[in-house]
Symmetry: C2
Subunit: 193 residues, 2 copies
């Protein structure tokens, strides 16, 4: 059982941040996040997530051309914005990632299974990413408001990767948080049978 402090950091007090302190995120922190999140469970260890950490001014400008108006300022001011992508040919790495069975054959040629597996598992990995970022002391601001076709053309042209969602990363300015929105109760969302 984790300590109350750890649970607060990951869940109870963790917020989606929209305003960022002027404090950089280091390469070592990005590596540390990946080296935690990579251990999270995926179906047949398929690990479809591919991440582009956008930090330079030039690349951030390209990204800003893809995001919705409501996400512009927060993305502009975030020290790093992570593009959580998914490799639609993830199954080509299964001989490496799942060496004890011919898992590649479960996917190759089955586009519906490829699409669902890439999307589900890169989303799981996106959540592992956010909790790993919080675990190492950073804050997150995930976003779905962007032009996916444009972003894919700018960042993933000539590859088999497509964007799933994007996520600002840095030290959030807690003074600029909105009041927290309500959540569904256990009885609204769950049942035990």
């Amino acid at each position: 059982m984790l300590s109350k402090d750890a649970l607060d950091t990951l869940f109870t007090n963790a917020r989606t941040h929209n305003a960022w302190l002027d404090k950089p995120v280091t390469d070592a922190q990005l590596q540390e996040i990946y080296d935690l999140m990579k251990w999270g469970s995926t179906s047949a260890n398929c690990s479809p997530a591919r991440i582009v950490f956008v930090r330079s001014d030039a690349e951030k400008q390209k990204l800003l051309g893809c995001v919705s108006q409501g996400n512009f300022e927060k993305t502009k001011t975030a020290p790093v914005t992570a593009i959580i992508g998914m490799d639609m040919e993830f199954f080509e790495k299964l001989p490496q990632l799942f060496p004890h069975a011919d898992a590649r054959s479960w996917f190759a040629g089955n586009q519906a299974n490829i699409d669902a597996t890439a999307f589900r598992n890169s989303s799981l990995q996106g959540a592992y990413f956010m909790l790993a970022a919080r675990a190492v002391g950073l804050d997150c601001g995930p976003m779905s408001g962007f032009d996916a076709d444009k972003l894919n053309a700018v960042f993933f042209a000539g590859t088999t990767v497509k964007v799933n969602f994007i996520c600002n990363l840095g030290y959030g300015d807690a003074q600029q948080l909105f009041p927290r929105s309500p959540r569904l109760s256990f009885d609204e969302a769950c049942k035990i049978v």
Copy 2:
């Protein structure tokens, strides 16, 4: 920054379990998991995940009729199997969950956006669920190998919920773990630009 022990529990030493100790999972633990995972970020706080915790023999038998052969024994012996579902009419709860804007109108009538948002965000919540379960001392065994149409007919007939994935829950038998599969390196999965 979380302690090394906490990071080990969540990520570094956390494994997908296939064999379970004969030790029950309590209602209080299920409530505790939900009361952590519910705080995880979702798009416009849409919170589409709906969970059925299958524990009774009668309901477990119904579930066993839906899972693949490879998932039968582990599901049979797990103290609880969670069905992580997604409410395809999640947007009807947005007036409650996102009261400061008319977020319902962003989705109603836009089936492609509904489908992607339900799937992405219930997957994120499924990952929050697994990390919350580990955080309270339990182990997880997520699975995609089941007949989704059959499971939906058995557990979600007459509702707007569809299954995303299922996940065994309990105290894993570490002695029956397989050797851990490799992960992609940072350079294989990520880049900083």
